[in-house]
């Protein structure tokens, strides 16, 4: 029985390659975290003009968001990696990958932020103003806390998607989990065990992230 399992799934090989897997994991986590941080901020930057009443501000942002929504992330990664050096802005593969991911996910997050703020009823605004608060105070003390609560679940979902999208940077040579897997297979002729392991690593990552997010959601819900 043991021998059969060994033949179908070379566990010892996996265990021997563990250090490489862990290095790949490290890179995946690194690039995800960097891209996440940039995307969260970029989304905030975009959200303001997006919700502005002035067409000349909101229209370009809306176009940008639509383009990000309807074109593959891979192309954007290629564009940044192959294109920027042509105009003198040579970014490392890591930076290219992170910037491209942030550019796309920032667009999605801007829409999420917008949804959160718009879903806080107009009456909350009116109530705050009636209490004598100016626009800034009303935003900070009444609307934003409620918007934040509404926004945590969808932002969390996008972060999980971001971690999965990070696998695309393997296309420009970054030794993340995915490329590590490919490299090991090409070098050693091992077979699908490698990618099953890679899949398990990603599953562990996304499950962990989801669990943490659910925990945060639950706790935050209490405080409001």
């Amino acid at each position: 029985m043991e021998v059969m399992l060994y033949r179908y799934f070379d566990i010892r090989f996996i265990l021997r390659s563990l250090p490489q897997f862990l290095l790949g994991l490290e890179l995946t986590v690194e690039i995800s975290v960097v891209a996440m941080a940039m995307a969260l901020i970029w989304g905030l930057v975009l959200a303001g003009p997006r919700m502005s009443g002035r067409r000349w501000l909101s229209a370009p942002v809306m176009t940008y968001i639509e383009v990000m929504r309807n074109t593959p992330l891979l192309l954007q990664i290629y564009l940044v990696y192959f294109g920027l050096p042509l105009i003198g802005l040579g970014l490392s593969p890591f930076a290219s990958g992170a910037v491209a991911i942030a550019a796309q996910h920032g667009a999605f997050l801007a829409e999420v932020y917008r949804g959160g703020i718009e879903s806080v009823s107009v009456r909350q605004w009116e109530a705050a103003r009636a209490l004598g608060m100016d626009r800034w105070r009303a935003l900070r003390l009444v609307v934003l806390p409620q918007a934040l609560l509404k926004v945590v679940p969808p932002v969390g979902n996008h972060l999980v998607i971001l971690v999965k999208d990070s696998s695309l940077v393997s296309a420009i040579g970054i030794m993340d989990l995915t490329l590590t897997g490919k490299a090991i297979i090409e070098r050693s002729g091992a077979s699908y065990e490698v990618f099953v392991t890679i899949a398990l690593f990603y599953l562990a990552l996304t499950s962990l992230l989801s669990a943490v997010l659910r925990f945060v959601e639950r706790r935050y819900r209490g405080t409001l």
């Binding site: 383009v67 192309l75 294109g83 042509l86 999965k164 296309a171 990618f195």
Partner: protein
């Protein structure tokens, strides 16, 4: 000015045909598979429902690129010599299926149970109830999310290029590596994807708005 783009257009359009072909097949199959699984996730006995939960968990928690690699390497290992296109396409179908299953499941569960009670008390059996009451409403409700999902899947076909499938993105990278006209080509190809996906996104939004109006 975009001379490289213009001269490469025939080549790129061939790639686009592949992309469209792959998208159409995988999205259609994936949607059908997903709807069936979605229905089963509500009605089937506990064992099957548990298996479906596991399937959805695995396919939604793993990057689609990894699933494609897995299919590419795994199938030959089990003795199935199929070409890349089919292996990767299969992964995409199952990936699509997991999302569609969740969408379908949500739609079915949102139908008030009272309607099922009324149908049962009129003497209708489950097959009839599904066909006449549940599915018409659930599928109509699912249309916007399904359309949005197809956009996601069309974009996912570009990832197949990393595994070695020849389609639009693969063709684009080939040309750029030869000619270094990165901006022209990649922006041009982005425009092609945009032309394919944008109408679907707009349609989804319009349907959503109409549904909200009715309610």
């Amino acid at each position: 000015m975009p001379t490289v783009l213009v001269s490469s257009l025939p080549y790129l359009l061939q790639g686009a045909v592949n992309t469209l072909w792959m998208s159409a097949v995988c999205v259609t199959l994936g949607t059908v598979v997903g709807v069936v699984i979605g229905i089963l996730s509500v009605l089937a006995p506990a064992v099957i429902r548990w298996m479906i939960t596991a399937y959805v968990f695995v396919f939604r928690g793993t990057p689609v690129l990894v699933l494609m690699f897995l299919a590419y390497f795994a199938l030959p290992a089990f003795g199935l010599m199929i070409n890349v296109f089919v292996a990767v396409g299969g992964a995409l179908v199952l990936y699509t299926g997991s999302f569609v299953a969740e969408i379908t499941r949500g739609a079915i569960l949102s139908i008030p149970r009272g309607q099922v009670d009324a149908a049962k008390s009129l003497g209708m059996r489950w097959g009839l109830i599904l066909r006449q009451i549940i599915l018409p409403q659930a599928l109509k409700m699912s249309l916007p999310p399904l359309l949005n999902n197809s956009v996601i899947m069309i974009k996912a076909t570009s990832y197949a290029s990393i595994v070695g499938v020849w389609e639009l993105t693969y063709a684009a990278r080939e040309i750029v590596e030869r000619s270094l006209a990165a901006f022209q080509i990649f922006l041009g190809v982005m425009a092609i994807y945009f032309l394919i996906c944008y109408p679907l996104s707009v349609l989804a939004r319009r349907l959503e708005k109409r549904a909200a109006f009715i309610h």
